[in-house]
Amino acid sequence: MAKEYDVLLRLMLLGDSGVGKTCLLWRFTDGDFHPSHISTIGIDFKMKTLDIDGTRVRVQIWDTAGQERYQTVTKQYYRRAQGILLVYDVTNEHSFQHIVKWASDVDECAPEQVMRILVGNKCDEEERRRVTTEQGDKLAKSYGMDFFETSAFSNHNIKESFSRLTEMALHANRKKLDGLWLSINDDLSTEDLLQEEADRKVEENPERTCVC
């Protein structure tokens, strides 16, 4: 099967529950959460291919929605990601204050080269706004992150923020592109390992290697 992309990058969304992470993701992937997308094995609705300076980047986005209370689970996602979107809700001051906590969690568990951007979501709700653009900008600067205000409702700045993070992650990993390829192959080989039991049957169908 011909590869439809050159590089695979993994991004993830972090932030308090209710800040609209799932809606952001939904908008970005132009997806509809169709039943088959949720329950069917192998179909990943959180994939999108972006063209960054001529490189076809397959972006796989992980969302920890619904799993926030499983600290031990979510923390391990950080380690496997190359880029992280820290999301807060501009109408919810608490979610903004908690960004500090999320950022320190990332520092503790994620590799150093992980790229981060700050996203203030729900910016269409101007009358309910509790966190100003300046506050967001200031916090982002203090962490040396890029900052975007987005609205999943009006589809504002969503593609821009995801693209920017992808671009940053791609540049950070440019030198390690070979390494990235390796990690993809790792997935496939461990996938084979999982299939150990099924391996006996694989002989009948030896070409089954790609899960993408």
Binding site: G31, I38, A65, Q76
Partner: protein, 427 residues
């Protein structure tokens, strides 16, 4: 007589001369201290006072239940309150006769991170994280709050006890406790959890929360024990033991503790211990990698879904995945379309809840023969004098001690501290 006192008495009588038992006695002794200080079973954090008798089956926590809630002050003194499960912060303050305008309730983590509780927040005790505690203070004291000693977790491992318990027994005890907690939880709690407590203020999810925190506890227990073990040879033995335990848990179809142990083993503080990992035989490492692959969220958790699809009841599911699916179904689909109920969405939700119901539609039959000991314990059969942890000659009492150990794990839940310990033992 509380269970700690009972154990101490029994152990004192029978275990003199056994080094590992005296160590375990100290562990349980410390636990007793915790119980007296806290007045509640630590693994349930803030809920339900521990029974006066021995180990007892975990009962479902109901909305109208009164639970013991401990509120600490900045000087680490405390007040115990017996409050309805669903009491609000305001109710707690009123019960303490504290004027709400001067004081606040703050949730403090073991890492020292604080979070002020809202006055209308309900059932706060059931939402406490692993080593989190609730403090009462004035607004200007909040910044100076420090975590309690008990929140920081143990500074000694329990390898002396673990080495004397077979992996089979540990796995069986983990599984039987999981089954109790899992059965205590009604599947509708998943729905309340996903739709949010705001929509269902009177439908607490305490049993689900307890089940979730147990998962975190087991995962941190694995990491804690390994990171506290300074002796490399012992550490390697322990690591192999945990992999074996994971294998047995998997064969029990207990995806809850299986994944919890795996998350403990893949914790960054553990996975960086290269010297220790080198001592794991290749065959075992290969098996471990196969398990590790199941945790990979790649392609919407395809690996885990494939494994779970093959299981037949009774089994304990990997709940994070079900909660994730429910969340996506709920957030990604409107409940009404053109004024009509979105039936497709409702049936997708129902299907997931039914999965949880179906996987326990048959009674769990203990896989290991020693598990019958649990029944004997609850029937209070006469205790045998013999005390040993070995598989073949496990007495009722030996089983009780293992059972108590497994249900009262002490853990470090501060990742920073675990990483530090890990760097200390293998720079």
């Amino acid at each position: 007589m509380c269970f700690g006192a009972f154990l101490k008495q029994k152990l004192a009588k029978q275990a003199k001369g056994h080094a590992h038992l005296s160590m375990l006695r100290r562990y349980i002794g410390a636990r007793r201290h915790l119980l007296l200080d806290n007045g509640h079973q630590p693994s349930i954090r803030g809920c339900h006072q521990l029974d006066q008798s021995l180990v007892r089956m975990s009962q479902p926590i109901r909305v109208k239940d009164k639970v013991l809630q401990k509120v600490f002050r900045h000087d680490h003194s405390f007040v115990s309150l017996r409050m309805p499960l669903n009491a609000s912060v305001e109710d707690v303050m009123a019960a303490m006769k504290i004027p709400a305008r001067d004081h606040i309730l703050v949730k403090v983590k073991s890492s020292g991170v604080r979070e002020q509780l809202k006055m209308d927040a309900r059932a706060t005790s059931s939402f406490l994280g692993l080593n989190e505690r609730i403090f009462l203070c004035t607004a200007d004291q909040a910044d100076k709050l420090t975590p309690l000693q008990e929140q920081l977790g143990p500074d000694m491992n329990t390898i002396y006890a673990l080495e004397n318990m077979s992996s089979k027994i540990i796995a069986a005890q983990l599984t039987s406790y999981d089954w109790e907690l899992f059965n205590a939880m009604h599947e509708t709690e998943l729905l309340y959890y996903v739709l949010g407590k705001k929509k269902f203020p009177n439908s607490p999810t305490a049993n689900l929360e307890r089940f979730i925190q147990r998962f975190n506890e087991v995962a941190y227990w694995v990491a804690t024990e390994l990171c506290l073990c300074a002796d490399q040879a012992k550490r390697a033995r322990l690591l192999k033991k945990f992999i074996t335990i994971a294998t047995i848990l998997y064969s029990h179809h207990n995806m809850n503790s299986f994944t919890a142990v795996m998350y403990g083993l893949t914790n960054s503080a553990v996975s960086r211990l290269h010297k220790t990992w080198k001592k794991v035989p290749n065959k075992m490492k290969k098996r471990f990698r196969r398990y590790e692959h199941m945790l990979d969220p790649f392609s919407n958790h395809e690996a885990m879904r494939q494994v779970v699809a093959k299981l037949s009841p009774p089994y304990i599911p990997y709940l994070p995945l079900i909660l994730k699916d429910l969340t996506f179904i709920h957030e990604g689909n409107k409940s009404y379309r053109n004024g009509l109920v979105n039936f497709e969405k409702m049936s997708m939700i129902a299907k997931n809840l039914r999965t949880v119901k179906d996987c326990r539609n048959q009674p769990y039959l203990p896989i290991s023969p020693q598990n019958n000991l649990m029944d004997k314990m609850f029937l209070k059969s006469p205790l045998k004098q013999k005390l040993t942890f070995s598989d073949q000659s496990l007495s009722v009492e030996g089983a009780q001690i293992i059972c108590l150990y497994i249900r009262n794990l002490k853990v470090i839940d501060d990742q920073r501290k675990l990483s530090q310990l890990s760097r200390n033992i293998e720079p």
